[in-house]
């Protein structure tokens, strides 16, 4: 197995863990959902600005550059 394959497998595991957290949150209510995480992040003016800039950078990086 090459390092490239290992890297993709780890990315897949991390994606699975994120989905797992959301499923756990929705099914049991023991941990916050991703939506709650977003609401905490955008709750203040600074957080809202940082998240907006992050979203803009993501779009520019992925689609324009």
């Amino acid at each position: 197995m090459t390092w490239r394959v290992v890297t993709f497998v780890v990315w897949g595991l991390l994606a699975g863990l994120l989905v797992g957290c959301q499923v756990l949150a929705v099914r049991t209510g023991r941990i916050p959902t991703a939506g709650m995480l977003v609401r905490v992040a955008v709750g203040g003016r600074v957080g809202r600005t940082v998240v907006a800039l992050g979203w803009m950078w993501l779009g520019w990086h992925a689609f324009a550059r």
């Binding site: 991390l14 023991r30 939506g35 609401r39 979203w55 689609f63």
Partner: protein, 139 residues
């Protein structure tokens, strides 16, 4: 306009945007224009939320209960799974970014590029990015 008609119109608009953007490629004026229109649209929603007291529900900030309402578990314990997975993701991204050769250590950008490489993938991920922007500014 009924609820079904409104969501159908938005769905049709999303498909149209995906079709148009799927024809653009990075490093072209067309892709820069598409992304800039996305910025203006989402920032326009924020401006409208500031200046207009009565916006349609789809554009207004949602009035949701505080996010920490569950009983029992302590604050830190409740957020720990998310924090650990996000730290692991950032750590792996940094490891891949610094790793050589780059072809053996694909970063998230490379993963995204592989999805984004086709016309369909490009259009769908662009609409997903627009929806993420709308979601963020209405929370």
């Amino acid at each position: 306009m009924t609820r079904v008609a409104r969501w159908s119109s938005l769905g049709a608009a999303g498909v149209l945007v995906a079709l148009v953007v799927s024809l653009t490629r990075p490093f072209t004026w067309a892709s820069e224009l598409a992304v800039t229109i996305g910025f203006v649209g989402v920032l326009g929603i924020v401006a409208a939320q500031w200046w207009s007291p009565s916006l349609p529900g789809v554009l207004a900030r949602q009035d949701l209960p505080p996010p920490l309402h569950a009983e029992g578990a302590r604050w830190g314990m409740r957020w720990a799974p998310w924090v650990m997975v996000l730290i692991a993701t950032v750590g792996w991204e940094v490891y891949c970014y610094l790793g050589t050769p780059r072809s053996a250590h694909p970063t998230l950008s490379v993963v995204l590029d592989s999805i984004d490489a086709t016309h369909v993938g490009h259009g769908v991920t662009f609409v997903a990015w627009l929806l993420l922007g709308w979601y963020l500014v209405t929370r």
